[in-house]
């Protein structure tokens, strides 16, 4: 992946969250505080502005800039989790313009590890991990080149997010609802699916 592709990923993600802002807010209204779309959208718009102003030249610099911007602009668990996950990924990304497929997988692995550790959540807790963990395991196991694998993952991401509807929330404010959280799709898993759809388009070359 190149630095340009990585920056395109955030542009795509910003546009996708903006487009689905109301939907994300509505999902969050059912089991949280109704601001996931607004919150993430505000942060990602800042990311795009800062990326344009600073034009970071390496993968590591871009990743760090996105992380720090989300940490200061996105409140709640999502801001801290995306931010600290990306800070962990930035340590894996090289301070150069491009990285190989293995390094990209390792960076996503570092992102997921950091989120698991910080959020103390596991698969099945009805969180963003219910999309990121199956996505990462497909990426790490599949022998095909990522130009094939990532678009396949992207095609499944929405299903993984929708499957959180049958789960009972174990983390975050939704956990206070206990069994009443069942039947609602997790907003964090939904926005995570949008991220993978963007990565699929960029790696697959359709952006």
């Amino acid at each position: 992946m190149t630095n340009t592709q990585f920056q395109q990923l955030w542009v795509c993600f910003g546009q996708a969250v903006s487009k689905h802002k109301d939907e994300l807010n509505q999902l969050d209204a059912a089991i949280g505080d109704a601001d996931h779309g607004t919150n993430l959208d505000r942060g990602l718009q800042q990311v795009l502005e800062k990326m344009q102003a600073a034009s970071p030249a390496t993968l590591q610099a871009t990743c760090k800039l996105v992380a720090m911007t989300l940490l200061s602009t996105v409140g709640g668990a999502s801001g801290a989790l995306w931010g600290s996950g990306l800070l962990a990924a930035a340590k894996v990304f090289p301070d150069t313009d491009t990285c190989d497929d293995k390094t990209l997988t390792q960076a996503i692995q570092a992102f997921v590890d950091s989120i698991e550790q910080r959020g103390k959540a596991v698969v099945g807790d009805k969180t963003m991990l219910d999309v990121f963990v199956p996505a990462l395991s497909s990426l790490a196991q599949d022998a095909e080149p990522i130009t094939v694998v990532v678009p396949e993952i992207a095609a499944h991401a929405k299903e993984w997010a929708e499957a959180t509807a049958s789960l009972q929330a174990k983390k975050g404010r939704a956990a206070y609802l206990g069994p009443r959280s069942v039947g609602h799709i997790d907003p964090g898993a939904t926005s995570s699916a949008l991220w993978w759809q963007c990565l699929g388009r960029i790696i697959g070359g359709s952006v």
Binding site: L71, S72, G75, A80, G83, S84, L87, G172, R173
Partner: protein, 128 residues
């Protein structure tokens, strides 16, 4: 002296708690609040600023207490951002009772570990 940082989605909530705690513990413990600045919610940067405000007051340790789960995730991330020269402890305690218990303990000159224990034990003290 150990300082305390109260983190909440609502600044009014922790500002009120800070007032009450100062009143009860004799204002000797430096207390800062973080979160809920422009609107409701907490970011890691807000908590990082709170830690920094205590550090410039020369505290030799910091206790962080918070309201809801994401305040703790933001606090952990903030600790990574600041890299404080003094120990920063995130305390799992009921916010109101734990804050007051910790501040009163610190105000007697007790060690930071005693204040953490006092805050944590507040979970077990029934109100009636």
């Amino acid at each position: 002296m150990t300082g305390m940082l109260l983190v909440s989605h609502s600044r009014k909530l922790v500002n009120g708690l800070a007032d009450l705690t100062r009143e009860l513990s004799g204002s000797v413990v430096p207390i800062e609040t973080a979160g809920g600045e422009d609107s409701l919610g907490v970011t890691a940067s807000m908590v990082a600023s709170g830690i920094t405000s205590l550090l410039v007051q020369g505290v030799d340790g910091i206790l962080i207490l918070g309201d809801l789960g994401s305040a703790f995730i933001s606090a952990e991330t903030a600790i990574d951002l600041v890299s404080s020269p003094t120990p920063v402890h995130i305390v799992d305690a009921p916010l109101v009772e734990g804050t007051i218990a910790a501040a009163m303990t610190l105000s007697t000159g007790a060690a930071i570990q005693d204040a953490i224990s006092a805050a944590t034990e507040a979970y077990t003290i029934r109100k009636r």
